[in-house]
Each structure stands twice: as C-alpha cells, then as structure tokens.
Amino acid sequence: MTTARIDARFAALKAEGRAGFVAYVMAGDPTGEQALEILRGLPSAGADIIELGFPFSDPMAEGPPIQRAALRGLKAGLTLKGTLALARAFREDDADTPLILMGYLNPIETHGYEAFARDAAAAGVDGVIVVDCPPEEAGPLSDALDAAQVSLIRLATPTSDDARLKIIAERTSGFVYYVSVAGVTGVKEAQAGSVAPAVERVRRASGLPVAVGFGVKTPERAAEIARIADAVVAGSVLVDEVAAALAANEPAAERVLAKVKSLADAVRGARVMETV
C-alpha cells in the first residue's frame, strides 16, 4: 500500500528524534533529463521526502521563483503525463523515499480523476497536494485517490481556525502541510514564534505529522523550523538554484543538490544541537 511509505518515513524520523527535510522541485525544470538527475540525487543529498511540482500555466498561489520554474517546465514540454513518467523513472531506483505530486487541479481534471489516481499509484506516487482544491471541492478527487490508495495531503494556513482545521483534517492522511505565512510561495518569512503554536494545533486536530513550508530559505531558518515541526519544506530556494545554474550556463543538478545538502544538514543538526 502506497501510503505506508509516508508513515514509515515519519516513524523512522521519530525514532531518530529529528525532523525530516522535504525538497520541492519542479518536473521538467530545466529539462526532463536534468529533472530526473536532480530527483535521483535528492535522497542522498538529504531529502527525506520529495515534492514534485507539475507545471501549470496559471499558478495562482506561487511567488515568482516557482512561477518561473513552472514556465521552464512547460517550455521543456513537461505535461502531467510527463510528470508521471518522471515519477515512475525515479521510483525504479528508489523504493523508500515518499514522493508527493504538487500542483493545480486543471491538469488533473483534464487527465480524469480516476485515471490520474490509477496512473499516480502505478508510478509509485504516495500523495498529492492540489493547491486550488479545498475540502469543499475535493470529494470526487478524494474518492478516486482513496480507491488507488494515494494520500490527498491537505494544507493548513494561518487563516485556519479550529473549526476549519477540523474540516481540513477530514479525509486526509500521510501528513498535513502547514503553510506558515499568508501569502505566495518564496516571499515572506513567518515568525518562528507564531509557527510553533500553530503546528501544535494542526497536530492536535489531525493526529498527523506536520510539515512546515513557505519562506524557508536559509539553513538557519530550516533549523529553526526543524525544532518545532515534523518536517521542513523548501522549494523556491531550490528552483532558484536551477535558474542560477541556467544563468551561469552550468548543469543544474549539482547546484540544486548542494543547496539541498546544506538545508538538510541544518535540519538534521537542529535537535542534536539543542540537546548538546
């Protein structure tokens, strides 16, 4: 069963007494081949969980870095089908790292919910995050994903009160993604002080591990979040490394993986340092 991979990873992290590091990269960024090279290098660079974005023409909740990454992915011709192929290729070499697809609903609508759920499961995808599909609209998609045993990972935000958290927690599994700031990806940084109680509320409402993302740009910041959350997500800062590599005419994988390593090391060291 595919959801088991996420649960096993969080159980292992708990046993190690540390938070996980979640790396977000965009399918096809900057090309299909280089994206696969990046994906394959992520686990050894320290990514405990991978979020693979599938490009959409109108990414309404993204800041400029991920907007640009989506455009690069589209330019490279990466469709949702191409993203699923990329996931399948990754899964051939890696049986353990949870892989989450993240994007917007319209490509999934076009693919068809049942076909998408089936194809995602067959590709070794463990979960899906759909930014513009709140619980009110998610019923049919949840049905299809449940049948294929793929998790629908939900988002909680600073605007989610306790009543809302209850709605969010229904029919979700794996973990909850806490969007730590009201805003788009890669712009604002939340106050760690406000994140800690929010993570606790989300944990209580959902009974699931909580990954925190949005605005994690530096190892220091990653470490700070790692002390309060079950996992730390970084995305914009990674896709910006692709942009920098392109500007410098360098291969992208090396730069992205170096950045992943610096952030993942900070996450791994965070709680150890605290106890020392």
Binding site: A61, L74, Y104, L105, T110, E136, E137, A182, V184
Partner: protein, 404 residues
Amino acid sequence: MNAILPNRYAMPDAEGRFGPYGGRFVAETLMPLIHELDAAYEAAKADPAFQAELDGFLTDYVGRPSPLYLAERLTQHHEAANIWFKRDELNHTGAHKINNCMGQILLAMRMGKTRIIAETGAGQHGVATATVCARFGLQCVVYMGATDVERQSPNVFRMKLLGAEVVPVTSGRGTLKDAMNEAMRDWVTNVEDTYYLIGTAAGPHPYPAMVRDFQSVIGRETRASMLARREKLPDAVVAAIGGGSNAIGLFHPFIEDAGVRLIGVEAAGRGLDGPDHAASLQGGRPGVLHGNRTYLLQDDDGQILEGHSISAGLDYPGIGPEHAWLKDMGRAEYRAATDAEALEAFQLCSKLEGIIPALEPSHALARIGEVAKEVGKGGDVVLNMCGRGDKDIFAVAKHLGVEL
C-alpha cells in the same frame, strides 16, 4: 399586459454551484475569507438598509435608471425587428462595471475592509473601482496586464487621476487572465485588510452570484421599460460576453420567461477555426481556473491558453459559470463575432446612431442584425450598450490605419 412574475430560478446552490459549474476552487488560505464574504453578502442582501443605500448611490451617483432607446436608424438599416439599446454606456464612468463596483464597495465597507484590489482588462472595471474607492476614501490597487496597459492607456491615466495605484502585470501574455492571477496573489498575501473587488461574474462563490445580482439592475430596468413602452417583454436580449457580467445582468431577470431569447456574443478574434479567439463557450471545454469550474480555452494537458480579441475587455480564456450552465441547459444561445465584424459594427453604429460604442458591445452589435431578422418585423430586440467607445478610439484608429 404581462405581470412581472417573481423569479423562481434559484441558482447557484449553497455550495455556489450551477450544476457542475462554479464552486470555490481557491487556495486554503482564502477559504475562510470566501466563507466570510459569503456570509457578509447574504446578510447585506437581506438588509433593507443596504439595498436602500445602494439604490441611492445608483440613482444619484451612477445615474440610473439608464434609458431604453429605440435605435431607429439601425432598425431601418436592418429592416427587421425593432432594435433597442439599453444605454448602460451612459452610466458614470461609461460602462456597466460601476453597477457592481458600487454594490461591492458598500459591502467591503460593511466588512470593515480598508484596502481594495481589482483586476482589469479594458480598464473599465479598474476605472469603476478606482472611482468608488475615491468616492469613499479607500486605498485602491488595480492589477492590469502590461499588454492592456499599453492598449488602454487613457483608462490607465484615468485610474491614476482617481488616486489608484496601477500595477502592470508582465507574467503570461500580460492580459486579463494574468491580472487576475496577480490580484489573487495579492489577496492571499493581504488577508486582513484587503477586499478583492472582482469585476466579472466569475471567480469563487459568492462572486458569480453576487456580481450577477448587482448587475441584474440592467435586466430589471430593461424589463420594466419594455413593459411600459411596448406592453410586452422583448423577444430577444443580446449582450457581448467576456467574463459575462453585463450579459448575465441583462439575462437574469428574463431567465424564467421562456419567450425571451437570451443571446450572448463571444469574441471570435481572428476566427473560431484558429487559436486566436476568446470564445470559451464555443471553442473551449470545462475545467477549473480562478476559483470556478467553467468553460476554458485550454490545451490537451489542461494548460490555459491565452486567447485573443481586439477588445481587451473580452480577452479572457474563461467565462462566468452561470453562462456555462445556461449554455448546457440550452436556455441561452451563444454566438461569436470576429475582430473585423466588431470593427465594422463599431463604425456603423457611430454613423447611424451617433453613439460611439465600446469594442465590447460592438461584438453584440455585429450580431444584432441577424437576430433582428430572425425575430422579424414588429418584434423587439434589446442590445445592452454596456460601454462607450471613447477609450477605444486610439486602438480603432490604429486598426483602421488612421494616424491620430
């Protein structure tokens, strides 16, 4: 004489759905705001004081009711049914957009919001938003595609005169779709003080229903005027469609009158057989964008296409969800007019009626002759003149090869 029957048509449902269309497809951060807006709008709608306040401003500030005018020379030209213009271009700010802006700004103030954001294509909604913000002393930020900023420069200047900040949007092709993306990004970032004043009957629930309700003043007045003048209802009502707010405002009070044909005219751009048009109903298929499920111009992977129209106000790859529903139900008919046909109708109307129409209603004007012929002599067709053409004279001159 026909009595004005109460409208039993009751869409959308509580979830904001028109059959399979509509809904609330937004980021989780915005969901509590959408629910808050829904509750605030329902409360305002039921509050006679709110309605009275709105009616007062519509009368004294907007200049309603607008006349229903018999376009005699255009009628003679087509030698068919009587052609009437609903003169919404005579509203303050020159288009129908202010009907909705006045309603929403009063609601925003009721909700205690102090900062207003809006998207605009042709700039008419931006101007109307900037106008009501100036009138009530609220901060105003308007997102406008960089391409549109260039082709609608008079309206950009107007917005700035009115004290609004105009933010050119360079993502995508720099048109209305991209402006809407950027406005949503602003909203998700400024959740405390900001009210998103959407200009068309699209977006997440309750916007499609709310904008329709505020624009329905067009159809209610048309109905009352026609009954007073002709002691009957019109045989057909015709309006241009981009997102569809002026059309749904005209159609809605007639939905239960089976004898009244509802006809929307989409922008066929350079032709429906190619990719350069903005006719989502006739050239698209259902999908999810900007908070609602509706007909969209999109490719095989579900990526949204850019579309094209000479009219910046119609240049949008989606359409309000209620039009999607009315199309599927067969209650409304949808046709299209090309850039060239709209330009021709623009000139014809100017010469025959002394009314320079905006490029948006010029699309409806391009189809009015054939509708009048289908209805036949003695019948009555009403066209919503939803905007005046002052803003378009530079663009039209350029297309006609005239240097100003």
